[in-house]
Symmetry: C2
C-alpha cells in the first residue's frame, strides 16, 4: 500500500491511514453509531442522541489557493451540515480548529470569519469553542458539528432493503463543473456558469429535507465523495446491491448549458465529481407519502435514480456505470477521505 520509499499519499493509501486511526472497533454502550456513518450517534439518557461530525476544508485541496476566503469559511460549516442532514439531525453547536498561515492578510482573515459567521447564522449554529494555530502550511479549518436527533428516527447507512427505491435530492455534478470553471475560466463566460461556481463555493445541503425524512426513509448518506463512491458506502453498510439508472440522474439547466457550450459529457461529473452535498436515500412504498410531504415542506426536489436489490451486495451497477466496480480507481477521490 506504500511506495518504494514507504510513503503514503494517494487515495488508496489514505484508506490505510483511516484504518490505522480507527483501529479500535469496539463500541461503548453509549455510542449508537460511530466510525462508518456520516456522523456519530451518542446516547445521553435524554429523548435525543447527540450527533457529532468533523470535516476539514483546506485551501489547495477543497478550494483553490488564494480564492474566496468567505466561501471557505462558509464551506467549513456546510460540509458538516451535510453530514448532519444525512442523519436527519438538527445542528446545534460547533467547535473550530483553525490553522492560519502566518502571512494571512488581515482582510482575508476578516472575510473568512464573515463566511463562517454567515453559515453559522444560516443554520442556527452556536460556535462554542475553538483553537487557532499559526501554520507554515495552507489555510485549513476543521469544524466539529454537534446536533441532536431522536435515535429511532436517525437516518443511517445500513438500513436499505431490497425492493426499495433509491433517490437523490437536487442536481448532480454542478459543483465539479463550477470548480473546473474556476480553475480554467473560459473566454466566453455564460451567466449560467455563475450558479455552477456558486454551487462549488457555497454548498447548501438540504438540511430541512434530511430532517423531514428522518424516521421515514430507511437509509441515507450525503453525496460528498461523488455519487458512485457514496452509493457504494451505502450498499456496503446495508449489505445490498444498488442498481443505478444513470439516464435518470438529475442535471441542472446551467449544467446543460455548460455541456452544450463546452461539448463535455456531464455524466462523469454527475457520477464522480464530488462535493454535491446532496442526499441519497432509500425508501420503500410505505414511505411514499412521507418523502413527498417532506419535499413540499422543505421545498427540495428529489429524483428516483435506482433500486435496492439483494444481488451483488456492496456493489453499484447498471448501464452507464463505469467498469461496474471500483469507481474509486477510475475516478480517485484523492486527498478527500472522510469518515
Amino acid at each position: 500500500m506504500t511506495d518504494r520509499e514507504g510513503r503514503i499519499g494517494t487515495a488508496g493509501e489514505f484508506a490505510l491511514i483511516e484504518e490505522l486511526f480507527h483501529r479500535d472497533r469496539s463500541r461503548p454502550a453509549d455510542v449508537h453509531a460511530g466510525i462508518g456513518d456520516d456522523a456519530a450517534l451518542l446516547a445521553h439518557g435524554g429523548d435525543a442522541d447527540w450527533v457529532a461530525a468533523v470535516d476539514t476544508v483546506e485551501e489547495g485541496v477543497h478550494a483553490l489557493p488564494g480564492g474566496d476566503a468567505a466561501a471557505l469559511g462558509w464551506k467549513a460549516v456546510a460540509v458538516n451540515v451535510s453530514d448532519l442532514a444525512a442523519m436527519g439531525a438538527r445542528p446545534r453547536h460547533a467547535l473550530l480548529a483553525a490553522s492560519l498561515p502566518k502571512d494571512l492578510a488581515r482582510e482575508r482573515a476578516g472575510l473568512l470569519a464573515d463566511g463562517l459567521q454567515e453559515a453559522l447564522e444560516t443554520w442556527g449554529i452556536a460556535l462554542v469553542g475553538g483553537d487557532t494555530v499559526a501554520t507554515p502550511g495552507p489555510l485549513a479549518l476543521s469544524l466539529t458539528l454537534l446536533g441532536r436527533v431522536a435515535p429511532e428516527r436517525a437516518l443511517r447507512r445500513d438500513g436499505a432493503r431490497p425492493g426499495e427505491t433509491v433517490y437523490v435530492t437536487g442536481t448532480l455534478g454542478d459543483a465539479a463543473a463550477g470548480l473546473e470553471l474556476l480553475r480554467d475560466p473560459p473566454a466566453d463566460w455564460l451567466p449560467a456558469y455563475d450558479l455552477l461556481v456558486e454551487r462549488h463555493l457555497r454548498p447548501r445541503p438540504p438540511l430541512a429535507y434530511g430532517q423531514g425524512i428522518a424516521g421515514v426513509a430507511s437509509a441515507a448518506i450525503d453525496v460528498s465523495d461523488g455519487l458512485l463512491a457514496d452509493l457504494r458506502h451505502l450498499a456496503s453498510a446495508s449489505g445490498v446491491g444498488l442498481e443505478l439508472d444513470t439516464a435518470r440522474l438529475p442535471l441542472s439547466a446551467p449544467m446543460g448549458e455548460w455541456s452544450w457550450a463546452t461539448g463535455r459529457d456531464p455524466l462523469p461529473l454527475a457520477l464522480s465529481g464530488g462535493e454535491d452535498f446532496e442526499l441519497v436515500f432509500a425508501a420503500g412504498e410505505e414511505a411514499f407519502e412521507g418523502i413527498h410531504r417532506a419535499k413540499y415542506e422543505a421545498d427540495t426536489r428529489f429524483t428516483p435514480i435506482g433500486r435496492v436489490v439483494a444481488e451483488r451486495p456492496g456493489e453499484v451497477f447498471g448501464a452507464g456505470v463505469p467498469g461496474e466496480s471500483g469507481g474509486y480507481d477510475h475516478f480517485p477521490a484523492e486527498e478527500r477521505d472522510g469518515a
Copy 2:
C-alpha cells in the same frame, strides 16, 4: 494590530483572530458555558451536561519537526484531556481531524496511530469520528473531545472569590525544560533529563484530581499557555486579583538538577514555559477536606501558591512576577492561542 503589509502572525495578532472567529457572543439557552472557558458546557436535558473541547497539535509548533510521532499522537489526546480535567469532567468520545503530509512515511503514520490509541485507552475514550486530509503543510492533529459533567459540579474560570487560596497540582516548568533539552541536547546528558523530556512529549494531565475537586473547588483552569497567562485568564473571568507567592512554586527534582547543571534560573520556565498541563484552582477554607480527600484518592500532589484578592481585578502580582503585568509580552506564547 497588523504589520505594514496588513499581515497577521504574532501572539498579539492572534487575539485579534480569535475575536474575528468568535464574533457572536450571544449564547443559546442550551450552552451553559462557551468560548472563554476550558471547554463548552452543553445542556441536553439529562442529569449531566456534555463538555466539549478542541485543540490542535502541529509539528513545528507543539512538537519538533520529525520528532517522536507516537508522542504527537499521545499529545493530541492529552491536551484535550487537560481541558476536560479543568472542568472536572469525564472524557467519553473523540473526533479526529488529521492533516497528514503527502510524504509521511508509513512507519511514522503507524507510530502516530500507536500513540493516539495508547492515550485513548489510557483515558477510556472512544474514537467516534474523523476526517483525513493530505496536506502540503506540516503534520497536524485536531482532536475534539466530548465528555460529561454534572452542571452544578463543573469547574469554571469565573468562580474564584476574595479570601480563597490558589493551588497548583504537580510541578511547573518541566515540559519547557524538556523541550529545550530536545532542541539543544547537552553533551552531558543526566538521567534526570529523561523525565523532563517525557513531560514535554507525553503530558499526563491530573484528570482524576480534576474530577475529584469538581463541586469542591470554586474555579479552575489548566496550565497550558504558562502559569502566569492562565492565572490571568482565571483572574479576568472571576473579576479578582491573584497575589502570587513565586517562592512557593513547586519544582521537580529533575528540574533542580537541570538548573544546577546548566546554571539556569527555573523560575521563568515555571511562570511562563507553558504546556505543563497541570491544574490551577481556587478554594476556600470550607473546601479543605474535599481537596485533600481528592488528593489521596487521585494520588496527585498540590501546592498553595497564592491567594485571591479583591484588589487589582484581572491582574496577577507579587514578588518575582515579571513586570507585574503583561507576561504575554515578556514571554510571548506565540502561535499558541487557544479558547
